[in-house]
Subunit: 132 residues, 4 copies
């Protein structure tokens, strides 16, 4: 799963968010992000945009784990439901493949606190597989 | 529309993105974001997370323009369709209120290039009005 | 859970679809629908509109199980991902509450074949609780 | 635009809903549906499933107008925001293509009353183009 990490490292925006890959397995990727003042909304919690960005990435990389080596993955669309304010020092985004198709992959993800007890956001999205 | 700008200025994440409010009118807010290496994905384009973050903010603030002074707005959910890679030096997110309800506001938004000719993303979302 | 069944029986459209409640528990409702020529699309499979209608209902009723007796539930929005053509004699929609809030409930659902092995559709939606 | 009408006529479910094509132009299709007791929810209004079904169809056919003769269109996903109860004798669904891609088409649609003044629902969805 070297290429997942390499691809992730090329995403400057993930660095800007301080996001890091926690684990990679077939069809499932976990990304963590530690609280930092630069990531907050008006009440000092994680901005919804941060949650969306990392859960979309987790889902995209989950899809990529199931692709041929030379394939690339693009998000076609995603929807995020924000369940509660993300009051936490660290957030964990888990993306998992729901349907692995030849051209399209559907993945779902959640963003939780570190314990996994509190779900802050739920995402379902579609990824497009670009075979090179 | 002073309070929109003030609320926006409290969102540290918007500063991290280099996002700025371009215009505010009743039910419509425009936010711009200039390309910067810290905002890119693996191909050097704007990351989808940046697009989502600013268009969600534009929609949220569009909703806030129609609220009483002491109200606050929270995103309940949003869906983004990513129509093409955001190859541009500057992206413009326009959020507009579609339905202004007492408790819920539905807004839609687009992210375009500076000319407005190319649509990079389309969003529809629901905002919750918190009356204080 | 009498009132769930009663409410369901008032939905003439569920009768038109030949939909029936299979089970009701706290936070979870299952609805089944048997194939009938009147429910098909151009290739003879269940129409996506049928899948959407019953999974939205399953989610709405799942939300209603957690409400006070006199409350009513309205769908605010839902998103459906259609994973594969619904080639089956019977489809089963399962709706479950993901977040039970005072005003808003987020629920997710799937539509499967009778065995539950094949997922045809995945939904996530928001319900509004109307307290009477 | 003969083939749009022919394809529509093969969708038995559209007949069950009493839905009819009102107009077809390049990238835009309008479908109407007249109130009938078999289409209602518990309060006697059009069921959300009816709105979703016809606006998804309008969007799918809007996409099909832009395809080669032998292509077929499948809905990949759609999201519907339900803005207000559909209290009307007739509902009109208008689907329009937002982005016409080789493999994927993004379309948006609304469901209104006959005058077009009241928007009952807003949809954005993705269609997959199957070239035969």
């Amino acid at each position: 799963m070297q290429r997942i990490q390499e691809n992730f490292d090329k995403q400057a925006f993930m660095k800007t968010l301080g996001a890091e890959i926690v684990s990679i397995e077939e069809g499932k990727v976990v990304i963590a992000c530690t609280k930092n003042n630069s990531l907050t909304q008006q009440h000092g919690f994680f901005h919804a945009g941060v949650l969306s960005s990392i859960v979309d990435s987790a889902c995209g990389y989950a899809a990529l784990t199931m692709m041929p080596e030379d394939a690339d993955v693009l998000s076609v669309e995603f929807k995020v439901n924000l369940l509660r304010p993300a009051m936490a020092d660290k957030i964990i985004a888990t993306g998992e493949v729901l349907k692995n198709g030849r051209t399209l992959v559907v993945a779902e993800g959640i963003v939780t606190d570190e314990s996994g007890d509190k779900i802050f956001a739920k995402m379902v999205g579609t990824m497009f597989v670009k075979r090179n």
